[in-house]
């Protein structure tokens, strides 16, 4: 057992976990942040994507201990109070989700995609960049629309800040 200290969604947290504990299980089982999902056991599906120090990472491929001292953001931490993150709003407005299971990972990946491309995205790029996230419901059509929409919204939001 080890004590892992890190920052999650802006709050300092500490948990006593087995050394083999994955970050996703630290989040779900110890911190009750169940928005981060597990959809596979081979790091293929992306349902567990969170941000570690601002970068999208599959939290099933990181030991909790490896995340010690880092700044983790989960799907629960991106809205500002009642105000949704522009990516969340774009997923809702474009019907970019159905069952909702892949959605948290999709949203966390998509935010990172927009950041890495400085908002300069086209359909082909979005489709290529989403290859680490699997959705079985939407056929990706509306997810792609949502990401492109959000890229515009995030640019506007950034300009306003």
């Amino acid at each position: 057992m080890s004590t892992v200290k890190l920052t999650v969604n802006g709050k300092a947290v500490s948990a006593e976990v087995e050394d083999r504990t994955l970050l996703v299980h630290l989040l779900r089982d110890h911190l009750n942040l169940t928005g981060t999902h597990v959809g596979c056991d081979t790091s293929q599906c992306g349902a567990c994507v969170v941000h570690i120090d601002g970068r999208a990472v599959k939290s099933c491929t990181v030991l909790a201990g490896q995340a010690a001292g880092s700044n983790v953001t989960t799907i629960e931490g991106i809205a500002k109070g009642d105000e949704l993150h522009p990516m969340q709003a774009a997923f809702r407005d474009n019907h970019g989700l159905q069952c909702g299971y892949c959605t948290p990972g999709m949203i966390m990946s998509a935010i990172d995609i927009v950041h890495r491309h400085s908002g300069q995205l086209d359909e082909e790029t979005v489709r290529h960049e989403l290859e680490g996230n699997i959705c079985r419901c939407t056929g990706y059509h509306n997810i792609v629309k949502a990401v492109l929409d959000a890229a515009g919204r995030m640019k506007v939001a950034q300009a306003a800040e």
Binding site: T34, G35, D41, H95, L97, G100, C102, T138, H141, N142
Partner: protein, 779 residues
Amino acid sequence: MGVEGIGASVVRKEDRRFITGKGRYVDDIKLVGMTHAHFIRSPHAHAKIKSIDTSEAMKMPGVVGVLTGQQLVDDKIGNLICGWAITSKDGTGMKMGAWPAMAPETVRFVGQAVAVVIAETKNQARDAAEAVVVNYEELPAVPDIRAAIAPGAPQLHPEAPGNVIYDWTIGDEGATDAAFKAAANVVSLDITNNRLVPNAMEPRAAIAEYNEPEEHFTLYTTSQNPHVARLVLSAFYNIAQEHKLRVVAPDVGGGFGSKIFIYPEEMVALWASKKVGRPVKWTGDRTEAFLTDAHGRDHLTKAEMAFDKDNKITGLRVKTYANLGGYMSLFSSSVPTYLYATLLSGQYNIPNIFAEVISVYTNTVPVDAYRGAGRPEASFVVERLMETAARQLKVDPAELRKKNFITQFPHQTPVIMAYDIGDFHASLDAAMKAIDYAGFPARKAKAKSEGKLRGIGISCYIEACGIAPSKAVGSLGAGVGLWESAEVRVNPVGTIEILTGSHSHGQGHETTFCQLIADRLGVPISQVSIVHGDTDKVQFGMGTYGSRSAAVGLTAILKAMEKVEAKAKKIAAHQLEASENDIVIENGEFKVAGTDKSLALPMVALAAYTAHNLPDGMEPGLKEGAFYDPTNFTFPAGAYICEMEVDAGTGKSTFVNFVAADDFGRLINPMIVEGQVHGGLAQGIGQALLENAAYDASGQLLTASFMDYAMPRADDLPSFKLSHTTTLCPGNPLGVKGCGEAGAIGASAAVINAITDAIGNNKLEMPATPDRVWHAIHG
């Protein structure tokens, strides 16, 4: 329609919880004192269990119990059932072998559970499972249909000689043979309909809790139909009586058919929770999903179509072998029979049809309904035959279809179905226009000049949805009725709760069902809640599958609404001292027509509950229920056209365009309908290009992870161009047909027709991987 009424693309009410990470799926639930289950599964496709030694595992840290199949037998827990009886052509019943939830003696597929470890933590259960020693005696395995029917093949179940479960026929064999004898042309095809894994993104999970003083169980489970689960668990498995079992299906992360069935893990979790006296949780991992979720499709078919000299179809003859896996899953028997062969008429006038379906056991995961369930297989047969015929007869494939379209309705096919309405010309014309069919030859020529192979493929599908008239399915062998129930509760303050037996696992019922209420009463959907997925809250329901929730579930809500409205009008008339017949409902008000007198819905509701001033003899309250049993199936239909470009050097196919023109009758929420079509198309295209559940000769599943099984990813798919044509369904008052499965039913034939057109070789099996396409081009 109003901004939130029927026909409006209302943004989904349920989305906020999902996009903020506040959805509540089974694995998110924790109960006090909860233990964790891990199953020990067979590594062999076919073996006798010689012994199971649990003694070391019992000593491992955190272990609460280790249970085996023999203990299930000792406790007289029932075997899993198949709920649809199929009669063979010789009049005998289907040959069903026993399927215990954990095998006590024989395992018949890799992944079949033989024992379960219950421990304080999931990791402790996994660790202890490593210490359970199972001694197997391997038996020869039958990994596919050809092996199952080979002379001298190993036998799976003593009940099923030759591994044949049934040999069933439909249609008039003599008349069909005569049509072939008299035919001017005959077209034939051998078709493999590849085996698929549904792969809802949320793995199956179950939490069972036993309350000893009350002798009461609660089961949280990933189900598309919690009431059916309760019925089956209580009626057949001897675990709990129906009134002592609550089944809750909270947020469920996709189903596609795979979460209809009651699986061994739910049964064992319930039984084990009583055995160990603690709540038991099981959450499957993805490998377990591949190894235990019911698979889909897996047919081998020989199909022939007869034409007269004018290219009119005169007959269709089909022989299909269907693989049902190692055991018969809940509705497995109906999928390759009544959900498949009854749709073989497609959109066409075919005077004579005869089909024979032989279902067999193999040492593979059980096969059951997967999105479309039988209808994709039928559509693929018919639409591949039509395309092949057009090429063989040297006529335009669109023209050949139009020449044979059914144009008069109702239309009785030779295979049970009575199509109520449709306009097949309209949908094909819409799709041809959307893809600029007339301009295709020029595009093909241009592509050729650039060294690329360009092809176009049409698929005109029809399906039977709104499942189903209870009397009809009862006469065909179904063990249940397929009506739906609903209750409308108007609260004293005028807010409304709709209790429905339908279950949403992505379909958006919390929005679309509210839209009906907004439409009827003119109240905002924020005042309406949808209650579903809990047998303690909703009296009964048959659940969501077969594109039935709008046509059957929403109609049940409408029937209950009509009763509520009738009573509310009586109350309003009494309060307003007007005639009941003069009351109209507008914008949440009960108005006396032609006057300025009105009463708002909350005042009517309050009057119903205070009961101070109701018409004489009227019961207080404003709550009504209804059961709705459809009179016929509904028949969504449409035309999909796919244009593909193939690189002859690599065999890679690339989408140029994919258009869909669907007729779903009235659309409740076009945005949600289009989302359903997108998802269905992706699954149909996935079958055509990527997905295949492959077994090796020993019965090992080679594609048991997302590393090996090619799920469609964002860059495998195009953006789709959708349109709608509309004939209102006459069978239900809303005129709706259902949209959930269409894409998966129609898409795969369009893709294969396009690629085979591009490469000029009609012999190409699904999935049409670059390797297969390259070989089809170069031999």
